[in-house]
């Protein structure tokens, strides 16, 4: 199995605040990797650096063997930001079409991928409505569809299930698992909900800019002899201090 992502000794500070401290880890292809941690722990900063929107002060990040930031690698990354970045004056279809064009899909690919992505997030019937008429959940689903539009090898999802009802949350997670199992996608998600962390292959717990524990959910529970990941998080944090 190949390495999809490699983060090497990354440090980042904004002004005097040290947001990320000596982060290092590797992600294998075809795995779901979860970043768990409270708001403000530095998850989004790390995600932005993986996507190449920001650069680390020290250390380096490699995606699919290429050093970031790199425009060509971005073609292989599906990104879903924490807040929905959609054009509200346009319809769902026009939004998908626009992003498909940015990834330079040809006409036939565009049509197929839009159909596929819309069906996946269950928005086919609402594609011709303007996004301003969408509910919060529909917008979240459209964002996910956009992340999938160019059939990327790596999916990077920043809190994909925030503000989504439990039923939809379950269906999105089932879809992520299917993408991993059937299409071999590498998926990174951030979340602060521990029950979602249980579904990841590997999780890293982030606290105040440091990775305090990394492993499979079972390994972590065993290591800290805890019943749930909540307890692991508390135990790991205590040990760290």
């Amino acid at each position: 199995m190949n390495q999809a992502i490699s983060i090497q000794n990354v440090n980042k500070s904004f002004g005097k605040k040290n947001v990320l401290k000596d982060i290092k880890f590797e992600i294998m292809e075809g795995k779901i990797y979860g970043f768990i941690g409270p708001s403000g722990a530095g998850k989004t900063t790390l995600i932005k650096m993986i996507v190449g929107m920001d650069i680390p002060d020290t250390g380096s990040i490699y995606l699919l063997g290429e050093k970031m930031p790199n425009l060509n690698v971005l073609q292989q990354i599906g990104y879903m930001a924490q807040s929905d970045a959609l054009y509200k004056e346009l319809t769902g279809k026009e939004n998908l079409m626009f992003f498909a064009s940015l990834y330079q899909l040809n006409k036939k690919e565009r049509k197929n991928r839009i159909e596929y992505a819309a069906k996946l997030v269950n928005l086919t019937a609402d594609l011709n409505k303007k996004v301003s008429a969408y509910s919060g959940g529909m917008r979240r689903r459209l964002s996910l569809a956009i992340a999938l539009i160019q059939n990327p090898k790596i999916l990077i999802l920043d809190e994909p299930t925030v503000g989504i009802d439990p039923e939809l949350k379950l269906s999105i997670w089932n879809e992520l698992l299917r993408l991993k199992n059937e299409e071999g996608k590498t998926i990174i998600v951030t979340t602060h909900v521990m029950d979602e962390a249980d579904k990841c292959d590997v999780i890293s717990m982030v606290r105040e800019g440091s990775l305090i524990a990394t492993g499979t959910p079972e390994q972590l529970k065993e290591k800290y002899s805890a019943q749930s990941l909540d307890e692991v998080f508390l135990a790991a944090g205590r040990k760290d201090q």
Partner: protein, 348 residues
């Protein structure tokens, strides 16, 4: 390819936003029409009270378009002026002449003062030389315009340039600002698009709108408001396209220093209003030297020069090309700065 997709999206967004479309295309026409009406209003004939005027004097005053009210034995001139709504009051006692002016509007006061002085000196000439002076003794020639030239004829080219600048600045600035505040700019930066492609798309997308706006405004001004156009119509369009590019690049540049629409609007008194002062609506030659230097760093100064040159003076493209080059230099600098400003969103 990506630029094309972005241009398509920008135009689609604008077309969906009817209010902005109206602002872009109809608001300049409304304001131009209004200003045309305001500046081309008929001049009101001033009313002058006269005491002890000779019939001949009164006749001459009437000839110079003054409404004459005759009075006798007035003790309180001020009261008479206020009561009868006069612009001035002329008292003649023997060889002494006394003119009292209301002076609530200095322009009207100066104008009636000049007319009265002219009439009186003519009367004196008549008495001394015993002959009627020839009114047509001075023949006036005009290099630009004609004797029918109105203030608005010299203003209107400047106004056209100003509207193109102002509306394009505002709408493109807010356009990119929305892209930033809704997070879509950040989202764009997670795709393989280049920063240059984004700047190019904004310039071309809003540039197309500016071209349509310019054509509508110029056609409307010439055909409906009857504004003078001595030079070539196409040169006017060309100048305005260059003006639009400067406004566009400045608008999207300043939008990176604003974090909300409200802050974008705050740039208007800082960036737009001073440019009006230096656009040539007020005489620049009369300003202090250091102020004149300030005028030279205002894009609208060059835009106004070029437009007035073509529309009013009938200059050719080569005669105003210096102004166009300076405008293009402004645009070039702003575009380069834009590329750097976008670095905040992605280092590459």
């Amino acid at each position: 390819m990506r630029t094309l997709a972005l241009i398509k999206r920008i135009l689609l967004q604008i077309v969906r936003d009817k209010r902005t479309l109206a602002l872009l295309f109809i608001a300049p026409l409304l304001i131009l029409t209004l200003m045309n009406l305001v500046f081309n209003g008929k001049t009101v004939e001033p009313a002058l009270g006269v005491e002890n005027g000779s019939p001949q004097l009164i006749e001459s005053l009437k000839e110079s378009e003054i409404i004459v009210h005759e009075y006798e034995d007035i003790s309180d001139v001020e009261k008479a002026i206020l009561k009868d709504n006069l612009t001035g009051f002329l008292q003649i006692e023997g060889t002494e002449t006394k003119l009292t002016l209301l002076n609530d509007d200095p322009t009207a006061a100066k104008s009636i003062e000049m007319k009265v002085k002219q009439v009186i000196s003519k009367e004196l000439q008549l008495q001394v030389m015993g002959m009627k002076p020839n009114n047509d003794s001075i023949q006036t020639n005009y290099i630009y315009g004609s004797k029918d030239t109105q203030l608005f004829d010299t203003f209107s080219p400047i106004l056209i340039g100003f509207f193109v600048f102002f509306f394009v600045f505002l709408i493109s600035g807010i356009g990119l600002l929305n892209e930033r505040t809704t997070g879509t700019l950040e989202r764009l930066m997670a795709t393989p698009i280049r920063r240059g492609e984004i700047v190019a798309a904004y310039l071309i997308g809003y540039g197309l709108l500016a071209i349509i706006q310019t054509i509508i405004v110029v056609l409307f001004s010439i055909n409906i408001l009857d504004i003078n156009l001595v030079g070539s119509f196409w040169n006017v369009i060309l100048i305005n396209i260059v003006v639009a590019i400067v406004a566009l690049s400045l608008g999207i540049l300043l939008s990176s220093f604003a974090s909300s629409e409200f802050q974008m609007v705050q740039f208007i008194p800082l960036v737009i209003v001073p440019q009006i002062f230096f656009s040539g609506i007020f005489s620049i030659e009369g300003m202090a030297d250091w102020l004149q230097v300030l005028a030279k760093i205002m894009p609208l100064y060059y835009a106004a020069n070029a437009l007035k040159g073509v529309m009013y003076k009938g200059l050719s493209l080569s005669e105003i090309s210096y102004n166009l080059y300076v405008l293009l230099a402004f645009a070039f600098v702003f575009i380069i700065l834009n590329l750097f400003a976008l670095k905040r969103y992605r280092k590459l």
